[in-house]
């Protein structure tokens, strides 16, 4: 069971306190979007063995959504950060680069 630190309340929360919310940093497509754009928004997800950005909610704690940068293969956590952003903070990207040179995720590297 994973442990993630909620960036809002500072609690290092056990997975039983959290609910997962799938991939982070999706761009919403609505009316006016092409069929392909909308299809990709609804269904296409990364499935990396390695660095991944996810959404979590501190459901049985403060109730806030946050993001986690995590390795799916080793379960290493590079950091958590508030959900009110469209891309990961630079310091987390730097930390990942230091630990995993050459990593990529969507258009991030």
């Amino acid at each position: 069971m994973l442990m993630l630190e909620c960036p809002y309340c500072g609690v290092t929360a056990d997975e039983t306190e959290l609910s997962p919310g799938g991939e982070a940093h999706l761009t919403r497509f609505g009316p006016g979007a092409s069929d392909d754009e909308f299809h990709d928004y609804l269904f296409m997800r990364e499935n990396p063995k390695g660095v991944h950005f996810e959404r979590w909610r501190h459901a049985y704690g403060c109730g806030k959504w946050f993001h986690a940068a995590r390795a799916t293969d080793t379960l290493e956590v590079f950091g958590t950060y508030p959900a009110q952003t469209t891309k990961p903070p630079q310091e987390i990207l730097d930390k990942i680069s230091a630990k995993r040179p050459g990593w990529t995720w969507r258009d991030l590297k």
Binding site: M1, M3, D14, L42, A59, K64, W65, T74, L75
Partner: protein, 1006 residues
Amino acid sequence: MSTRLSTHGRLIDRSQTIKFTFNGKWMRGHPGDTLASALLANDQMLVGRSFKYHRPRGIVASGAEEPNALVNMGKGPTFEPNQRATTTELFDGLTATSQNHWPSLEFDVGEINASLSRFLPAGFYYKTFMYPRAFWKHVYEPFIRQSAGLGQAPKDRDADTYEHFYAFTDILVIGGGVAGLQAAKAAADSGAKVLLVEQSSAWGGRAMVDQVDSETVNDTPVDKFVEEITAELAAMPNVTMRLRMMGAGVYDHGYVLAYERLNDHQPDADGPRHRLWRIRAKQTITATGAIERPLSFAGNDVPGVMLASAVRDYVVNFGVSPGDRTVIATNNDDAYLTAIILKKAGLDVPRIIDARPEGGGALMEEAKALGIRVDLGRAIAKVKGSRRVTKVQICNQAGEGGVLDEVACDAVAMSGGWSPVVHLWSHCGGKLLWDEGHAMFRPDGDNPPRGASGEGFVRCAGIANGAMDLAAVIADAHEAGKAAAKEAGFTPKRSKAPAATSRADAALLPVWLMPQGAKTELRAKSWLDFQNDVKVTDVQLAAREGFESVEHTKRYTTLGMATDQGKLSNINGLAILSDALGQPIPATGTTTFRPPYTPISMGAIAGEARGEVFQPIRRTPMHDWHDANGADWEPVGHWRRPYAFVRPGESVEAAVMREVTNTRESIGLLDASTLGKLIVKGPDAGRFLDMLYTNMMSTLKPGRCRYGLMCTENGFLTDDGVVARIDEDTFLCHTTTGGADRIHAHMEEWLQTEWWDWKVYVANVTEQYAQVAVVGPKARKLLEKLGGMDVSADELPFMGWADGTIGGFACRVYRISFSGELSFEIAVKASDGQAFWDALMEAGSEFGIQPYGTECLHIMRAEKGFIMIGDETDGTVIPQDLGLDWAISKKKEDYLGKRAQERSHMTDPNRWKLVGLETVDGSVLPDGAYAVGPGKNANGQRNMIGRVTSTYHSPTLGRGIAMGLVQHGPDRMGEVLEFPGTDGKTYKAKIVSPIFYDPEGEKQNV
């Protein structure tokens, strides 16, 4: 025969005798015995039958790896099947029975299977039970049912109690042998908090049997060393020690489950029987030792053939000799210890059969000096005997099994080498290395399970880490303890590991089959998996049939799939597979190690969560009144709601019909408190609700209500309910009973993760209010009688709401109707709920007031053609399917689900659409029945063109009514469809409007 010796038995108390029964026969043992040692002391070697062939099976091992000695324990409420006799401590009055036999252990009808064994090869489940089809019912199914499963399921409710325990520690040490003790000491010396657990009832592990006479730590005999270090640890305030507690599983980020058996050995004691520990440890050390491997020779499953280490365990620990004349078969030095211990105990060891042409080291010389004959380069060709070993036939290991010699004996002690217990290391991703010298997998220290920091959080110590002699074990454990302490943030003491002696063993010879070139008839009697009856030939056949993956071979042959999870069989099995595939063992790899290490009780998993505390029940303020007034309860989410209020002597169905008629004709009262109530507030609240609902909510005027639909982003209808605008910035959104928490979370998700700059707050106030629906033609009369606010049609019109008082209760009244009748839904403070309900009931008696339940509500809404989330919707239905286009704003540019509802499949004219269904004969359509159309689909099945979503008997109309989704339904009014039922009958129903009652809405709008 097997019997109690007059010497040895370090774990038993000979001064006391206790009695127990096995298959109804009274036997005697001593405190400290396991059930297995006590059975052997009573010459009960035969303990069970194998799974497939029902072959007689005896005790093989002395610990958790035992595959055969599984028994039923206890009676009635304490009955439990599949208990391992080798890890069951004996207590006075224990009752055990053997499993998997009929009619008796000694004479088993199923044993006939054995003579049919060549018809039951690997994969026989897939091959044998195919054709002819007619055989299924009368031949195959009874056979499989009779053969499937071990033991019996308990029939009574478990009388014992269980609990969960949460523990946090710096370092967890699993295993209380010399390695675990030394690792715990080295870790604890740093000041770290240490939890040390041992699955058995004694500290010291194998060293107390194997090294106690011959070897030393710090020039102290091993038993003395164990005594001292145990006392030192017990005196340290930062150390917690637990016996009878097994590390069961290692999970992500340092989470470990451990299983403590508190009272299995003292069933009359107070307190829980088992305790499941949920541990968070910064570092975990697994000092879990090793398990000896059997050798694969013909007849290695005959009762009396045991692991060599188990034979000496029974002698040293329990003073029990498994046999009078024991032949040793080995490929390594370790088994010589057994010969030496047996000989010194005055027992006969007629022969040591060592597969190695050069034999062993110092231990071999010691055995020879005791006068034991050692045959080198030899193998067991075959063990003779059926219910007990009678003799062994000896051949050359290098040959095909030509018999050179025969030795009479009643036991065989075998050793194929040792496999470190790497299970816990592997559970969370620790990798393994193949150790060529010892022919075993051991942990790869460079690839441990990793925690959140990216560093390893498990390390192995001692034999579990591949350290094979005492000096290496102590040194390895010492370093592991210090390293774990450092990793956990402590400063280990500068100290050297205690010096220990080490045995100079000769090298082991990997022997996966005995003899090496064994003929088919021998291989077909060489067992790999004793419990599941998998032989060498089965694995070889699987390989010939193309099973190359070890995971596939496991499932095809069932190797390692029994309750022992292949603790004895796996390495031997994959060695045979590797040989058949012509590849080295590491290229084949192991199957996945999954928790728990050994089975743990369902009771321990459940803990306290049973009965009333299994799941908390949500109760409305009027719950107790309902209960006292005939409520037939129905679970709705975590709530309990009255399905109907049943009067004495009345059936539930009759109560429902009465409630509908009474509500339609005079007045009914519904406890609607469970409906979700979400306050949405802020300058952007209207804009936000416009995105959440398909309707336009921002144009709703304060004081008015609007029915709204909510969809998910993929267009499907997820919830519905009435929204009331309280003021410019505030809305109150009603949700379904089961939907309140989910919709609250849905709103929070969109607010926090997409529109975080919008100024809106959401609060779930569901439980702050009691809400009562006052429904029926006399509803207004009742409220006027109670007095207070003006509830006239002019002042409070349909779909309006107002704050005020009624009968002295401060309340908010919504003029909304889910029944089609004149209806007021009245919310009061939760604390006023019962008093308000009482006031309504009392004042309403002159109008014939009656409470009604959820089924009455359902019937009334179905009569009106109102949809119900979860009946008309199932996660694949969009509002357009339900004819709810009127509730979808055409003006809005966007709402959740709008783009999805434009996708081609969503606009397909062939989608099934909502209609009413009226049976031709007035009967009730079966719920969920499908309508069939002409022709067949690509699979040769009848085409389906619709299904029933809601179906009831309507007392108002005196007939069955239903709603359903039908292809082109609204264009097919009047058409009669056929619905085949599961009862063999075909129901005919006419497509009609879904609004059966008061289509103009005259009754609710008065």
